[in-house]
C-alpha cells in the first residue's frame, strides 16, 4: 500500500486528511509537527508522498521541506504544501526549498486525491 505522510499541527486537518486519503486507498502516517515528522523518518519511515502545512508552531513547513531534502529516503519524495497561505512569495520560497506543489486550504477531497494520484499512482 502506498503511504502518505501528513504533517499539520491542526488535529482537524490531520483527521480529515487521514479520512480522505484512506478512503482513496492510501496508508496514512500523521505527524503533528515538523519535528515529529522527522522523528518518524529517522525511525525508518519511507512515505511515498509528504503533505505538510506551512505555518506550524516550531519548525515551519518550508524548513521541514529543506530537512526532508537532506534525508536520503525523502530526497526525491514528492512534497505538497497544504496551507491557508496564498502569497506568491511564499509559494516561490517553498518551490526553492524543494516542494513539489502548493494546495490552498480548504481543499475539496476530489481535487486533493486527483493531485495525490498524479504524484503517487497505483494506490
Amino acid at each position: 500500500m502506498k503511504t502518505v505522510m501528513v504533517v499539520d499541527d491542526s488535529p482537524t486537518i490531520l483527521m480529515s486528511m487521514e479520512a480522505i486519503l484512506m478512503r482513496a486507498g492510501y496508508g496514512v502516517v500523521k505527524a503533528d509537527s515538523g519535528e515529529a515528522a522527522l522523528r518518524v523518518l529517522h525511525g525508518g519511515g519511507r512515505p511515498n508522498l509528504v503533505i505538510t502545512d506551512l505555518n506550524m508552531h516550531a519548525m515551519n513547513g518550508i524548513d521541514l521541506v529543506r530537512s526532508l531534502r537532506q534525508l536520503p529516503q525523502t530526497r526525491f519524495t514528492p512534497i505538497l504544501m497544504l496551507t491557508t497561505e496564498s502569497s506568491l512569495d511564499k509559494r516561490q520560497e517553498a518551490r526553492s526549498a524543494g516542494a513539489t506543489g502548493w494546495i490552498v486550504k480548504p481543499v475539496q477531497p476530489d481535487d486533493l486525491i486527483a493531485v495525490v494520484k498524479q504524484m503517487v499512482p497505483g494506490a
Binding site: 486537518i13 483527521m15 480529515s16 491557508t84 516542494a99 506543489g101 480548504p106 493531485v115
Partner: protein
C-alpha cells in the same frame, strides 16, 4: 467583571512613572483618590495646589505633574489590556470549542461510515458466504432433482398406464377370439348332435341290439356336454368382458385422470419452487447491489464533510490573526499611556503602522482583500511546481 478586569490588569507589570534616574512611583499608587497620600520607597508624592499628582524625586528635586483627568484617561487606556485579554480568552474558547466540535463531527461521521461499511461488508460476506452459496446450490440441485424424478415418475406412470391399457385391449381381443372359438365349438356341437341323430336313424333301420345305440347315445351326450361347456365359457367370457371393459378400464381411466392431475400439481409446485428460487437469487443480487450503491452514495457527502470540516482550521487561523491584532492594539494603548505619563514623545508605532503590520501578517487572500475592502483575487488553489 471589575474583579476580573482588575485581576487581568495585574498580570501585566504596572507601568511606572519614571523621572530621569530618580525614584519610581507605581501607576497603581497614583490613583486620584489615593494620590495625595501615597509614597513608595524613597520617592514621595503629594497633591499640588490644583489637586494634581506630584511625584517627587529626592535626588534632583524634579517633579512631574499629571492632572487627575489625564490620569483617569491613562488608567482607562491601561485597562484596555484587560479587556483585550478577555476578548482573547473568548477567541481562544471559540477556537477550542470549534476544534472539539469539528473533531467530534468528523469522528462521528467516520464512525457512522465505519458502521455502514462494516454492515455492507457483513451483508456482502453473508450473501456470498460459502455456507449460503452451498445451501442455495443444494436447494437448486434438490429442486432440479425433484423435477427430474417427478418427470420420470410421470413418464413411467404413463408408460405403465399405457401397458395396462394395451394388456386390457389384448385381453379383450383374446376374449373376442375365444368367442370365435366358442362359435366353432357350437358348430361342432351342432354337427355332433346331427351325427347323433343320423346315427339313431341308421340304427333304427338296422334294428335293435346292434350295439350301435350306445355309440349314438355317447355321441348325443358328447354334443350335450360340449354345448354346456360352450355355454359356460360364454358366460365366463361375458363376465370377463364386463370386468375388463367396464370396471378395470374405467378404473384405469379414472386413476389416470387423478394421477395426471396430481402429477401436474406436483410439477407445478416444483416449477413455482424453481421460479421462486430464481426470484430469491435475483432479490439477493439486487440487495447486494443496492447496499453497495447506497454505501457509495453515503461516501460522497462524507467526503464533502471531510473537505468542509477544514473550515475550522481556516477559521482558527483567522481568529489567531484577530487575537494578534488585539494584542497589538493593546500594546499600542500601553505605549500611548506610558508616553502620556512620561510626557515623552508618541510611541514609534502608530495605529497605521499596526494595521500595516497586521496586513503583512495575513496568510489568506480573502483576509488581505477584506482588509483593503477589495474583492479577493482568484489565485490558483492548486499549483504543481
Amino acid at each position: 467583571m471589575l474583579a476580573l478586569l482588575s485581576r487581568l490588569f495585574r498580570r501585566r507589570p504596572a507601568p511606572l512613572v519614571e523621572e530621569d534616574q530618580g525614584a519610581k512611583v507605581a501607576l497603581a499608587d497614583l490613583a486620584p483618590q489615593t494620590a495625595n497620600v501615597s509614597a513608595q520607597d524613597d520617592a514621595d508624592t503629594h497633591a499640588g495646589p490644583q489637586g494634581e499628582i506630584i511625584a517627587l524625586t529626592p535626588r534632583d528635586s524634579r517633579f512631574h505633574r499629571i492632572h487627575p483627568h489625564t490620569m483617569a484617561l491613562v488608567e482607562e487606556m491601561q485597562s484596555y489590556a484587560g479587556f483585550v485579554e478577555i476578548m482573547q480568552h473568548h477567541l481562544s474558547n471559540v477556537c477550542t470549542e470549534t476544534q472539539d466540535a469539528a473533531e467530534n463531527i468528523l469522528g462521528q461521521a467516520l464512525e457512522i461510515e465505519g458502521s455502514v461499511t462494516g454492515l455492507v461488508r457483513h451483508v456482502g460476506d453473508t450473501m456470498q458466504s460459502d455456507a449460503l452459496l452451498d445451501a442455495t446450490e443444494t436447494l437448486r440441485v434438490s429442486v432440479d432433482t425433484g423435477r427430474t424424478v417427478i418427470a420420470d415418475l410421470i413418464r413411467q406412470h404413463h408408460a405403465t398406464q399405457s401397458e395396462i391399457r394395451e394388456s386390457l385391449t389384448t385381453v379383450r381381443a383374446l376374449s373376442l377370439k375365444m368367442r370365435g372359438h366358442l362359435g366353432e365349438i357350437e358348430d361342432i356341437r351342432r354337427y355332433t348332435d346331427l351325427l347323433a341323430i343320423n346315427a339313431r336313424i341308421r340304427i333304427a333301420g338296422l334294428g335293435k341290439n346292434t350295439g350301435l345305440e350306445v355309440i349314438a347315445e355317447e355321441i348325443r351326450a358328447l354334443a350335450t356336454q360340449t354345448g354346456g361347456l360352450a355355454q359356460n365359457l360364454n358366460v365366463e367370457l361375458n363376465e370377463m368382458d364386463r370386468l375388463v371393459g367396464d370396471d378395470l378400464m374405467a378404473r384405469v381411466s379414472t386413476q389416470k385422470r387423478s394421477d395426471d392431475a396430481r402429477a401436474q400439481e406436483l410439477q407445478d409446485s416444483f416449477e413455482k419452487l424453481s421460479r421462486h428460487m430464481a426470484l430469491l437469487n435475483d432479490f439477493q443480487a439486487a440487495l447486494i447491489a443496492e447496499v453497495h450503491r447506497r454505501s457509495d452514495a453515503m461516501r460522497a457527502p462524507l467526503n464533502t464533510l471531510c473537505g468542509s470540516i477544514q473550515f475550522q482550521d481556516v477559521a482558527r487561523q483567522q481568529l489567531e490573526q484577530v487575537s494578534r491584532a488585539l494584542s497589538m492594539i493593546s500594546d499600542h494603548f500601553v505605549s500611548l499611556s506610558n508616553a502620556i505619563i512620561n510626557e515623552g514623545a508618541p510611541p514609534d508605532s502608530s495605529i497605521a503602522t499596526c494595521l500595516s503590520s497586521i496586513l503583512e501578517n495575513y496568510v489568506m487572500e480573502q483576509q488581505r482583500a477584506a482588509h483593503r475592502g477589495e474583492a479577493a483575487a482568484t489565485a490558483p488553489k492548486i499549483e504543481l511546481f
